[in-house]
Amino acid sequence: MQQRISYLIHLADNALILGHRNSEWCGHGPVLEQDIAMSNIALDLIGQARMLYQHAATLINTYEDAGAEWLLQVRGTLAPGEPVTEDSLAYLRDVTDFSNCLLVEQPNGDWAVTITRQFFMSVFQLLLYEKLQYSRDSELAAIAAKSLKEVAYHVKWSSEWVIRLGDGTEESRRRILKAISELWPFTGELFQSASWERETGVMEDVAAGACGMEASSVAGYAVDYASLKEDWMTRVAVVFEEATLDMPAFASWHQSGGKEGRHTEYLGYILAEMQFLQRAYPGSEW
């Protein structure tokens, strides 16, 4: 159960941190309509994070023994008997307890960096949720099905911008090329399974169902990330081609560690800001 909870929290962290980064644009976008679109995506992602955290919190409260080390710490800040909530999970864990991929915590940079980050992640989430909607965890399956519609729009929107920037002006092309070269090393991690997956049978669950029907590769409750890589490459390549951008190759080395709590230095600052009120006024209702 602990691994299943970790998995849900990992998915939620990805959504929350990317949503947080996107929300930093609010009021500062290059075009009013795009400011609204960006807030909309942030809202979708924060909504997805909330559903996933809520589901994880329910499991935590149901299975009392579901005690990762960080959970002890979260429980320590709650009153005795007080249930864990979505907010406990978002606001009371420190940086090494967050398991989002490094990609989503990277700074917004310019519009090209933000768009590229969104595009890489949205294509990944699309493929992920497409499979997760058949998860054996019916609650997770329902969340995935609902999120899928939103993410499909994120893919469409960010693809259009990748194309505009790649096949726009010389400057926009230069900027998106720079963004791609900066963010590409963080994409490898998306397809890497974390130690808490490898060690815990999440993947075995999936493998166990792999001889079944159509949706068999997700007969467990989690998705084998590596299986998404080829599709991801194809979909990214299609958009890059229309954007007249060269598709980078995967190097043998990529940045990773986020899924296991080894983040970049940026995440700590995100959390200090995000968690301030919950930390400064513990145990309050808002």
């Binding site: 929300s23 290059p30 609204i36 606001y91 400057e171 995000m274 009120l277 006024y281």
Partner: protein
Amino acid sequence: MAATLTLEEVFQDKIDNEIRIEPKDWMPEAYRQTLIRQISQHAHSEIIGMLPEGNWITRAPSLKRKAILLAKVQDEAGHGLYLYAAAETLGISRDEMYDQLHSGKAKYSSIFNYPTLTWADIGAVGWLVDGAAIMNQVPLCRNSYGPYARAMVRVCKEESFHQRQGFESLLVLSKGSPAQKRMLQEAINRWWWPSVMMFGPSDDASPHSAQSMKWKIKRFSNDELRQKFVDICAEQVKILGCTLPDPDLKWNEATGHYDFGEINWKEFWEVVSGNGPCNKQRLDARRNAWDEGQWVRDAASAHAAKRKQRMATSAA
């Protein structure tokens, strides 16, 4: 000469009979200019107004509050869009209006030149600032210019939802810890007077009012609306277990209204003229967003042009 008089007569006749003026109708140039000034100022206020509230999105105290706040600020951007579109029907482009904002020629509501210092400010902005705005805006739903009136109907509907949300979030604080109650009272102390000033100068110091009333761009005087606002808030603040920071506030049996203290008009005019706590910060933020977005907008147009070109070529 006779024809012009007739046009003007027809125009005023429509207005007197509560018939909406539409973009293609003839209208006096002064009416057009007054509307452009007022609608664009209102649109700019929505856009600048995103900043003080946006300031707390990354720090909202719960995921639910974060989502509510983000949606609210997004709604304000939407209001900006409707209003810019309404102003465009009068023959000014959105880019021209932005230029006026960025150069300081156009104004926006001075209230947004105050900082949001704590989470309680977000609720106070919802309750007081949106409350005052609605008080000003509801009559505008019946103003004489069609596109503006229709935009205001949508704006008002959403604003009153925001105002209820703001009050509700203050209600939670009012039932919270001593620290939260203190945060609440302090926010009310800071936002009360600026909100009262949102109705603008007193009627005797408000030169355009008479003409605007005649044109039905305006339907109530500043002081009438302000009194209504004070009367309502003086009651609502009791529900929060707080007080308004005005020692002179007192129910007056004779008038059936609350008396209230002297407004610091010196502060009002200083803030209007650029010396508020955040004027520079707000305008800089918008100018930066615009300037740094230039290459993005250029890329979008360049790409659209290429696309059009390609379609033309492939069609040929």
